[in-house]
């Protein structure tokens, strides 16, 4: 018993360093290339400053950082919902202008159309993407099955639980088959138990579908559980401070002790970045979120016409 504990402790100390290695991705080989990105809001708040990030095809990149570090702004810039004030964002070498069919943004809320059933929500999205009518239903049912919502195809959103709504939303996102999936704290509003289930589900789906995912979170464990890469960001001004590859085989489990060790390492690095702030705001380097942080403006989005 004691020996096992000792072994585990020793394991932790050793394991962490080689599991997290700095990532180096060439811009010309990247699926998503972000170069010298700057963004400031109309009220002069600098949301992003000189952000450079290259993402390979099929990677699962977690943007991790405290409130106000610009991770959501970066994601919205990728989605094309926010036009950055400087720098470029390119996908497959082509600069992006506005939302496109190659990318899909998922929110903290499931954002299902309340008047449509689960299947209706998916077929509506498929129709918008120009999938022929005859294929829509079958494709919808395939993805309803994939997120394990069998038997709820004809259910209305308000009759579903929070986790089921999120799964329906995930099914809708996967069904339209974007090459890049952008997720803005999609599990932030769920209870702890459901969140773990959703993380496991997302991981198994990602392993199967091989999509490029950019995932915003401020939960260190979540980032390490899901990502092949974790990008640490810091606020004032919003910037990338570290870009690490996570060398831990999938599927991962939250109980994995090396995950805890890495989490400690990451928290340490985040604390170092936040340095002076910590003196005024003791502990809690990673806020457990219950709702969207509101200390800085969220990227505001204009309704499409």
């Amino acid at each position: 018993m004691v020996r096992r504990l000792f072994e585990r402790l020793r394991g932790l100390r050793q394991v962490a360093p080689h599991l997290l290695r700095p990532a180096h991705v060439n811009a010309d080989r990247a699926k998503i290339a972000i170069a010298q990105l700057d963004h400031h809001y109309a009220n002069k708040v600098v949301a992003l400053k000189d952000v450079n990030l290259n993402v390979r095809s099929g990677e699962f990149v977690c943007l991790l950082g405290p409130s106000g570090c610009g991770k959501s702004t970066l994601l919205y810039a990728l989605a094309g919902h926010v036009a950055p004030t400087g720098g470029t964002v390119a996908i497959d070498g082509k600069p992006i202008h506005g939302p496109g069919p190659d990318r899909l943004l998922m929110f903290q809320e499931a954002a299902l159309f309340p008047w449509l059933t689960v299947r209706g929500n998916i077929t509506f999205a498929l129709a918008a993407r120009g999938v022929p009518r005859s294929e829509r239903r079958e494709r919808a049912d395939t993805f309803i099955q994939r997120v394990r919502l069998d038997g709820f195809a004809d259910t209305l959103p308000h009759e579903l639980s929070g986790g089921m709504k999120m799964r329906a939303s995930l099914a809708r996102a996967l069904a339209v088959d974007p090459t890049v999936l952008l997720m803005d704290e999609p599990f932030g509003a769920l209870d702890a138990q459901t969140r773990v289930h959703m993380q496991e589900l997302l991981q198994s789906i990602w392993m199967r579908a091989g999509k490029t995912v950019v995932f915003v979170t401020h939960d260190v464990q979540e980032a390490l559980m899901l990502g092949t890469r974790v990008v640490l960001m810091a606020p004032r001004p919003g910037r990338v401070v570290e870009d690490l590859e996570i060398h831990l085989p999938m599927p991962r489990s939250l109980e994995d002790p090396s995950l805890d060790a890495m989490a400690r390492d990451i928290r340490h690095r985040l604390r170092a970045v936040e340095g002076p702030v910590l003196e005024t705001h003791p502990p809690e380097p990673v806020p457990r979120r219950t709702q969207t942080p509101s200390s800085l403006p969220r990227p505001s989005i204009v309704t499409g016409r």
């Binding site: 989605a79 939302p99 954002a111 159309f113 008047w115 509506f124 999205a125 129709a127 009759e159 499409g304």
Partner: protein, 252 residues
């Protein structure tokens, strides 16, 4: 229980009315009891006067209301979505909304003459503005999350209007339609009262001219019954169903 209370109140009201009528405070020609009024109502119903008048009134109402909806909903949509309509047309709409609909009647009589068109015009003017303002409110109140998700899914153009904007605003629009209906109903009867028109309003005027208080009260009763029935049967059912499906209320 709820029904018993409602029924009890109704019986109480009628009983009070009967007692007042029999007490002889007012002359019985000026204040007949409920039984006489019901008798008159049945008489009018059986000789076809009531049915004919109701049909005529409702026919006008349905035509005018259909026009109001056909103009009001798109107008509200335009005001909500286009800057020109919001800046220039909306103040005009709000301005005219301050004018009671019956004030259009003299103008309508001069323009269209003593016929149905004049009344239709008054009814449309009475309800179209209310409907468009309610539609505008409902469209502006669309959940911003749905607008975003529509954008990221690439829902655009007509599909956005008919697949997201209208359904999203529908509960609010239906509330506006209900309001528009009651405006239209008021405007219609006001219009019908003022000149010979062959509807329920004229039946009321005739009662007055013949000094037949019983008939006046009977027609009033009929108007109440029709108004309540349409509101209950048509609008509340539709509204409740819609709100349940949209998940706005927990099913009762």
């Amino acid at each position: 229980m709820k029904w018993a209370q409602k029924l009890g109140m109704l019986v109480l009201l009628f009983a009070l009315w009967e007692v007042l009528a029999r007490s002889g405070v007012w002359h019985k020609h000026l204040f007949p009891g409920p039984l006489q009024v019901l008798e008159s109502l049945v008489a009018m119903a059986s000789d076809g006067r009531l049915g004919g008048a109701t049909l005529r009134s409702m026919g006008r109402l349905v035509r005018a209301y259909a026009m109001s909806v056909a103009i009001g909903v798109p107008l509200g949509l335009l005001i909500a979505r286009l800057a020109f309509f919001r800046n220039a047309v909306k103040p005009v709409v709000t301005g005219f909304q301050a004018l009671p609909s019956i004030c259009w009647l003299p103008l309508a009589l001069l323009w269209f003459g003593l016929n149905d068109s004049a009344i239709l015009f008054v009814v449309v003017m009475g309800s179209v503005l209310g409907i468009s303002i309610a539609t505008e409110d409902a469209v502006n109140g669309l959940d911003p999350q749905l607008a975003r998700v529509a954008r990221t899914l690439g829902v655009r153009g007509l599909r956005f209007y008919f697949g997201v904007l209208l359904p999203g605003a529908l509960p609010g629009i239906v509330t506006g339609l209900k309001l528009g209906w009651s405006f239209a109903w008021r405007a219609l009867l006001a219009g019908e009262l003022l000149f010979v028109s062959g509807g329920l309003g004229q039946l009321l005027t005739m009662g007055r001219e013949l000094m037949d208080v019983t008939q006046v009260m009977a027609v009033m009763l009929a108007i109440i019954i029709i108004g309540v029935t349409v509101d209950r049967v048509l609008f509340q059912t539709v509204e409740a169903k819609l709100r349940r499906r949209w998940g706005l209320t927990t099913a009762t």
